[in-house]
Point group: C2
Chain length 408, copies 2
């Protein structure tokens, strides 16, 4: 079995954890057909009911945004609602093979993007809720396409060289190696992540205090009854799955109005094909009251202004500095990888990381400290000298990160 086949099998058996008789939906760009076929074969090999393909194409998506009739962006056709909501209701496994030119939608009318996102958010809410609340197993993973590979490796002499380099970086990031069985490696990896997740939930910190030499000095309050998540999750139907591959982060939500201090980004942020670089933020009672960026400042200011919640934090995520992705020293221009390279925050919508929040209305979630927004944008702040001290409700100080890695 070559590395590609190992990777396909990993996504099917660990990522989705496909069950006998279960329907599998594979979303993939047409350029990645060869790999999508391997995933389909791997799903049939474990006895899935049927594989349904949900093909996409960057080129046609861009053409649509540029040239389709204007009313198209406020509509979602009936068949598409049936497709996503129907399969989510059936408990199908959703595998997304994500591969996109980071600049594909650059220059497209942002109002069309916004309206399309609102329309599909409403029409596919049953599907989106199933995914957000783990009603059904899902997994996102990536494979290279030339436009993306050339963006990551602009100095590669040929397209093929860029593609091969990106494949090697991806294989390293997802722990697919020649000699070993990635399924076994992932079981160990998930066990390790679960250890930190459970430990953090147990400590039940009131604050995390971040400091490093870049100038980050931030006090992050955590909500009452918060918990941490990492690695695998359990679907409503009882299937253990891994929603993101790779995944290195252990994450929770901050108390949205309890964050104070200065955050300095440690990596560039790519937003709709634009780069925001060398930036920092000042937060007061949770609100981002100042932002400065050497590059892309206006784009960052717009991003935190799209609604009230966009200027508050919605995610706090811990990633050891010694992770395969950080070690690869590569900017992937893809959140899936880049967010697993380093400790990060997100501004915007919070995941429901407070016990019982599944059952709460948005207003109740907000009252428990969870931020509400239409956006959710990750940005990296982890460095080799990042220290994080946890402060318990009793005022006890416990080292969480020392020099970029877990202290316990």
């Amino acid at each position: 079995m070559n590395k590609l086949e190992k990777y396909a099998r990993l996504l099917v058996e660990v990522g989705l954890n496909v069950q006998k008789g279960q329907t599998v939906i594979i979303a993939a760009p047409v350029e990645c057909a060869a790999f999508a076929r391997m995933c389909a074969s791997a799903a049939y090999a474990v006895g899935c009911r049927e594989v349904i393909m949900d093909w996409g194409d960057d080129y046609l998506a861009r053409q649509k945004y540029l040239h389709a009739a204007d009313e198209v962006f406020d509509e979602v056709p009936e068949w598409r609602k049936n497709f996503y909501n129907g399969y989510a209701r059936q408990g199908a496994g959703f595998l997304r093979i994500s591969a996109s030119d980071p600049e594909n939608l650059k220059g497209v009318d942002p109002d069309r993007l916004r309206r399309a996102s609102i329309a599909s958010g409403a029409a596919l809410s049953e599907y989106r809720n199933a995914v957000t609340n783990n009603g059904t197993p899902w997994c996102i993973a990536s494979v290279p396409i030339p436009s993306w590979a050339k963006r990551v490796f602009p100095d590669a002499k040929t397209e093929q060289e860029a593609m091969e380099k990106l494949w090697e970086k991806i294989f390293a990031a997802v722990r697919v190696e020649d000699e070993t069985d990635p399924v076994q490696l992932w079981h160990e990896h998930i066990k390790r992540l679960s250890y930190y997740r459970d430990k953090l939930t147990e400590y039940n910190f009131k604050y995390l205090h971040y400091t490093n030499s870049l100038g980050t000095d931030l006090m992050v309050e955590l909500p009452e009854n918060h918990f941490w998540a990492a690695g695998s999750e359990i679907s409503k139907g009882g299937i253990e799955f891994v929603a993101n591959m790779p995944t290195e982060e252990i994450f929770s939500a901050p108390k949205f109005d309890g964050v104070n201090g200065k955050i300095v980004a440690s990596m560039p942020l790519v937003k709709d094909g634009n780069i925001i670089d060398n930036f920092y933020m000042i937060l007061k009672d949770g609100k981002i009251v100042e932002v400065h960026a050497e590059k892309g400042e206006e784009i960052l200011k717009n991003a935190i202004s799209i609604d009230e919640g966009a200027s508050y934090l919605g995610e706090v995520a811990l990633v050891p500095y010694d992770s395969p992705i950080q070690n690869s020293k590569t900017l992937f221009y893809s959140t899936l990888f880049d967010e697993n390279a380093a400790c990060h925050f997100a501004f915007g919508e919070a995941y429901p990381m407070v016990k019982g929040s599944d059952e709460m209305t948005p207003e109740e979630q907000k009252a428990h400290g969870l931020n509400i927004s239409k956006t959710h944008v990750d940005f990296m702040i982890g460095t080799a000298d990042l220290n994080i001290v946890g402060i318990t409700h009793d005022g006890e100080k416990i080292p969480v990160f020392v020099n970029g890695n877990f202290a316990f």
Copy 2:
């Protein structure tokens, strides 16, 4: 504009004749994405509302037939019904870029194929009726894929050579040339086909008498009030479109119980990946009472036995021997091309080629001489020395074909 772009424009502007504000559905194998994108761009260029892709993949189709759960083949999911029936109801244009390995489904359980075909026939009947009765514009055309190209050119040294050869054959067949505008050539071609179509309908022959040196000697009775079709058609919405590209045939339906004599095939027939070659049939009062084939006789016998109507003829089609496809001396292993190479018949279902048949029940159509069957299989009988004499209701004999070509 290169030949590929000319071809894409031809399919959109003449094949579908896409109108401003009209939705366009493009069905294409993922392997043909580059050409599908050109068609989409051509459709946006004439102001279509939106292009919706309906991607397919031979490999996944085969995997499904081999490995999916058995009940899958009796079902059509709700979203698929909505997709086809919904867009047909809206009057969308349906472009099918057909490219398939002729042997793709070889060895697949024929019962699964049969059940899937019955299930989709029932679930998508609104779409199928729209297409059969020209309720909405549609067009089928082909582009090469390696598996097909290698089948047509088994002696090509490389896959690339086979692909290039097949492209050249297809360009010739669809009148796409370097120097000329194919849209203009097609308008002339359609005019010429319409001339023969109208002339034949006007003659209102009672019989056509076929003879050639291969041994064909057949008297074909035509139904009362039959008419002929060719080239373009007009959709219910008034859009002139060309359903098949290439198209060389002028076709009608025989009186199913009025065909007598011997038909000798002039080219092999490819059925579900199997070849039937050097065959002839004896017909008595329309029924095929004897078949002999040097190769594939059992397959042919099965094909004419799947129901009562399968052993009667449902189509009579005239194609001049001097057609671009016949001149290319190529067996394409694709009905779209091969049926336009030579005069042919089909056994099985008749097109509704009797005036007023749109409004008739199947029983009434049958009473007017139109054959009914679940199958429809074309086979070629045209040769360079084929003669056809038309016999009018008054008994007058008029040469229709002399030495393989139209006599008028």
